[in-house]
């Protein structure tokens, strides 16, 4: 398995991974390839990224924990908006994703 692509391309039960259209997303300034229909967390993990944010008080790293949108451990800044649950938010072409430091920062103009 390619270190830079941890996608499960062939699965003994589920067969071939039929991907959606290729899109580009930016993580902390670096462009990453993802596929339409994938969650942000999926695309990041597929590229070997495990740390999604740092906690407000102790600056401790956090990553994916429940993967079904309940625990909020995987929240990040997405398109200038903090606290986005990346495990249940699908990627979009041109999306800008940043590691969230503490409670994150709102960018002017984002809603």
């Amino acid at each position: 398995m390619d270190k830079n692509n941890l996608r499960i391309e062939n699965h003994p039960v589920l067969g071939e991974y039929i991907k959606g259209k290729e899109v580009k997303i930016t993580f902390d300034g670096k462009v990453i390839t993802a596929y339409k229909g994938e969650m942000i967390a999926t695309a990041l993990i597929a590229s070997g990224i495990k740390v999604f944010r740092y906690t407000p008080k102790k600056n401790m790293p956090r990553g994916l924990f429940c993967a079904i949108g309940r625990c909020t451990d995987c929240v990040m800044e997405v398109n200038g908006r903090p606290n986005i649950r990346t495990c249940i938010t699908p990627v979009e072409n041109g999306m800008i994703i940043n590691t969230q430091i503490g409670t994150g920062q709102w960018k002017e103009g984002s809603n």
């Binding site: 499960i8 039960v13 969650m39 956090r62 079904i68 949108g69 309940r70």
Partner: protein, 369 residues
């Protein structure tokens, strides 16, 4: 907030997993107008990550894989005209049967004559020093990543807990291309079915009973864990500590009902550790102590998808009857309800099912006999 809407339906169901979908299908078959609310973007709950064949008998769809059952249920729901509101969070359930819903930036109030709460469960965790490090996650989370999202979160795995979730997810991680170093179990015996345990044991996975994870280590994410033996009082045996290199830790130490809405509605609860904690009290038709609000699936006690489906069917039939939609004589209706209860009973046979059956019976005999 952009607007406020009032919606109406005969039966509102919260949660489009196996229990909610089955309740919806049964009620819709009888001509009930059904709306399901689900916070996810896709219906099916946790069925789509279950790629193993189900147990039970033919009537319980044994031999069929979870995601295939999910597809079948979605087709049926569509066929019978069930309305599904996705991406919609039910944030409130009130004793007058209204439900508060948020969809994107809109808030709406759903009024209904009957409600089924089928909100499912959430994984328990285990805290030890370092447990918050990235790549220490719920076993169900790892399962979602490999089977639904098709990405491998780690290549060298240790699993904490040898119940069915721990065993099945360990096997599925191997299927997805990972190496599972060990399954660690605090009790002195394997928690899940022997058939699942043997399968991974044959593949060389060590199952370590009387052990626990004592530490997660790593700078930015988990790189090592420390495991240790524990005695019969669950105390760590000094000197037995061992460090193992891993890049993924799966925590499979049970689930608990996701029952916030039940608490909010004011339901009565009973604590039953066999079923995962506080369980909303319900009668043999799955109706809670609040008239018109029914419960089904894991929210009524942690079991399996197959039992969740049967409880959902039972609730769906009972709701149809209560709404006067069962086009049959009372005697026939009670025999249909009895058949549904009988199917549940057969799923609760054997050493694993029996204690759950006894726990459910405890509620019935305490409150309803």
């Amino acid at each position: 907030m952009e607007g406020r809407f009032q919606l109406k339906t005969e039966l509102a169901i919260i949660g489009a997993g196996p229990a909610g979908l089955c309740a919806a299908i049964e009620a819709a078959k009888n001509g009930v107008d059904v709306t399901i609310i689900d916070e996810n973007k896709k219906p099916g709950g946790q069925l789509f990550k279950q790629i193993h064949r189900f147990f039970g008998s033919e009537e319980h769809l044994a031999g069929t894989r979870g995601f295939e059952i999910g597809n079948m249920l979605l087709e049926d729901a569509k066929k019978y005209g069930v309305k599904v509101l996705l991406d919609s969070v039910a944030w409130g359930l009130f004793p007058d049967l209204t439900i508060g819903i948020s969809t994107d930036k809109k808030v709406s109030i759903l009024k209904s004559e009957k409600v089924v709460v089928a909100t499912g469960a959430i994984e328990n965790s285990l805290s030890f020093p370092g447990w918050t490090l990235p790549n220490i996650m719920g076993a169900g989370a790892a399962q979602t990543m490999i089977n639904v999202n098709r990405v491998l979160p780690g290549k060298k795995v240790i699993t904490m807990g040898s119940g069915n979730v721990g065993l099945i997810v360990s096997y599925q991680l191997i299927q997805a291309g990972a190496e599972v170093v060990a399954v660690v179990e605090a009790l002195d015996h394997i928690g899940g079915y022997m058939v699942h345990a043997s399968k991974i044991a044959r593949m060389g996975v060590k199952i370590l009973a009387n052990h626990t994870i004592t530490k997660g280590m790593g700078d930015k994410f988990v790189e090592k864990v420390e495991i240790a033996k524990i005695d019969s009082n669950f105390n760590i045996v000094k000197g037995s500590e061992e460090t193992i290199k891993v890049d993924l830790v799966c925590i499979a130490v049970g689930l608990r009902p996701l029952s916030e809405l039940c608490w909010m509605a004011g339901m009565r609860f009973e604590y039953l550790s066999e079923l995962g904690g506080f369980i909303p009290v319900h009668d043999e038709n799955m109706q809670s102590n609040i008239k018109g609000i029914y419960v089904a699936g894991d929210v009524t006690g942690i079991e399996e998808a197959s039992t969740a489906m049967e409880e959902g069917k039972l609730a769906g039939i009972a709701v149809s009857q209560a709404l006067g939609k069962l086009r049959m004589r009372n005697q026939e209706a009670s025999s249909i309800l009895n058949e549904a209860r009988e199917r549940l009973r057969t799923l609760r046979l054997g050493p694993f099912g029996e204690y759950r059956y006894q726990a459910k019976e405890k509620i019935i005999s305490k409150y309803y006999n």
